[in-house]
Subunit: 375 residues, 2 copies
Amino acid sequence: MRIADLPTPSLLLDRRRLAANLTAMRGRTVAAGVRLRPHLKTAKSAAVARLALGAAAGPIAVSTLAEAEYFAGHGFTDITLAVGIVPGKLDRAAALLGRGVRLGLLTDDPSTARAIAARGQALGVTFPVHVEIDSGGSRAGLPPGDPTLVEVARILARGPGSSHAGVLTHAGQSYRRRGATAHAEVAATERDSVVAAATLLRAAGLPCPVVNAGSTPTATFGRDWSGVDELRLGLYMFMDLDQHALGVCGVDDIALSVLASVIGHNRRAAHLLLDAGAIALSKDLSADEFRPGTGYSLVCDAAGGAPLPGLAVASVAQEHGIVPLADPALFDRLPVGARVRVLPVHACLTAAAWDHYVVVEAGEPVDRWDRCAGW
Amino acid sequence: MRIADLPTPSLLLDRRRLAANLTAMRGRTVAAGVRLRPHLKTAKSAAVARLALGAAAGPIAVSTLAEAEYFAGHGFTDITLAVGIVPGKLDRAAALLGRGVRLGLLTDDPSTARAIAARGQALGVTFPVHVEIDSGGSRAGLPPGDPTLVEVARILARGPGSSHAGVLTHAGQSYRRRGATAHAEVAATERDSVVAAATLLRAAGLPCPVVNAGSTPTATFGRDWSGVDELRLGLYMFMDLDQHALGVCGVDDIALSVLASVIGHNRRAAHLLLDAGAIALSKDLSADEFRPGTGYSLVCDAAGGAPLPGLAVASVAQEHGIVPLADPALFDRLPVGARVRVLPVHACLTAAAWDHYVVVEAGEPVDRWDRCAGW
């Protein structure tokens, strides 16, 4: 199928941009001497995971049990579920351990740690569990000096249905800063926090097999990952307009786009309508903090993916994207039925609406890769 | 399966609330003497569509060709695709006509009307096409007095591969007003606009078989639909926090909710974390305009679905919902592993992340209904 024959909207993944992003990050982690654990919460695709790992079924991270089950079904055996676990999910996790998957779990809560240790014993398995560290993002996790950290790790290490797998953090505050210098500072804080947590545990006589950190901005600009074993990140594969707004990538590094049709003109209101709206794009507006006017998407030409100056999706309904046109001549340049590409503000959320990628190279479809979904 | 055994997050649909919402709207349309054409863009479920129609395979509206194909596959034969069509989608539309589905299309563009008439002729079908009217929402459609309206209808009526099916509007401005009086005013404008368009066409000697209007707020509060044949709306089935904020429903009319687990406590930041985030809930914040503090969701008890006072999802990451807790005692009341229900701000977008509903009655699962997705 040629690109002109694709239905709209379609989710396009540019293989060369993807490959360049993957190569760049592998190079950074090799140079830093850390293991790369690609986070597949963004791509949710076995084909992308294999490329990210250089064709091997190496270590990955996921955000849901459904992703863990999908990747286990595709032969991945070293998976970290990097979202806090609850007792009610342990039986599904145990089923994956029973299939030979080393599924790392995550908690920061003593009661949950006790429940994991007990449930593992009852099920005859040993759950490897990381303790989550708050390195400044203030979402989840314990601060590195918190005595609860030692308590949780001790419960997990004692088991018998659990083991202490190490510490894990995500410097979410990197999404609220802009530019290389700021991200390098956050990376240093992320590293210092998680290494301090590991040091505290080791000083208490506890094992800390893995020190895991990561976000796309900090992994891109961090200069020294001493003491960190693994970097865990996902957006770097696709990049998006928010990463661009944060100074992490150029617009032409963004590998993901939505192919859309112009489905209407509204000359009185001076806008055109696309068939990519709130479901196809998501309602994420986060790029506007540092790049006002990005709105729900920037509009690009369909062939090469180059931005059309000044064209953005300013508002969305479920199946309508609304693009204000300052210049009425653009109505003639973009008639009803014309096609454009629009870029994701937040690739994780844009991709979430789709069950597959149309893989493109030099502007034409070359493959189709499935995605998993749900929980 | 008992509700306590459901995985989290799960999408729950309360059958009694759904039935009450459906009955109320059927009653309103019967009283107004108009045909109800349920818009399935929200529910995307054949089971819900049959209930909405009182078990018959009556007229429905959809927002994508994928929905049209799904409902055609479930025996629905009178479907209006209520989003502007483009020439590139006509072959899929023709395939549905070939299966005996009366698929109504929509445009407001003379060039597109000509392309439809020509493509229908080439394919040996007659596309029934509505002309879209702008009744004040300023999204798509022609103003009722616009001479282009007659031009488009004339092209469609001449065919030979098309017929003029009538006029269709959506008073989207109802989503920017609050309360019964305001919505009744918008309903009158919606009616007057679309009836004026039909009158203009008939005065020009053109057929106008169907006059179609509708939105959940205007259909709920409109007092007189004289001249309108059909009301087309979808959110009324489930309702949501935005409809509540607009004064259209009570919180206890909302039939859709997400069952979620508390997956973490952050006592320093005074919030707890849920496993329902940006994908499970969407990033829609529209209820905040009229009900500040709604955020991404209100939090309710898991059993009965009653709101827990003051608890809202204030921010979201992909798989995390963050709920600030003003009272530290709530950490003990909602330990890690506890379950809550959270309500959709915009039901169309919350439901979009899921491939099925868990149907509940008196708080327990009684059925599972599939949904369609994609385009």
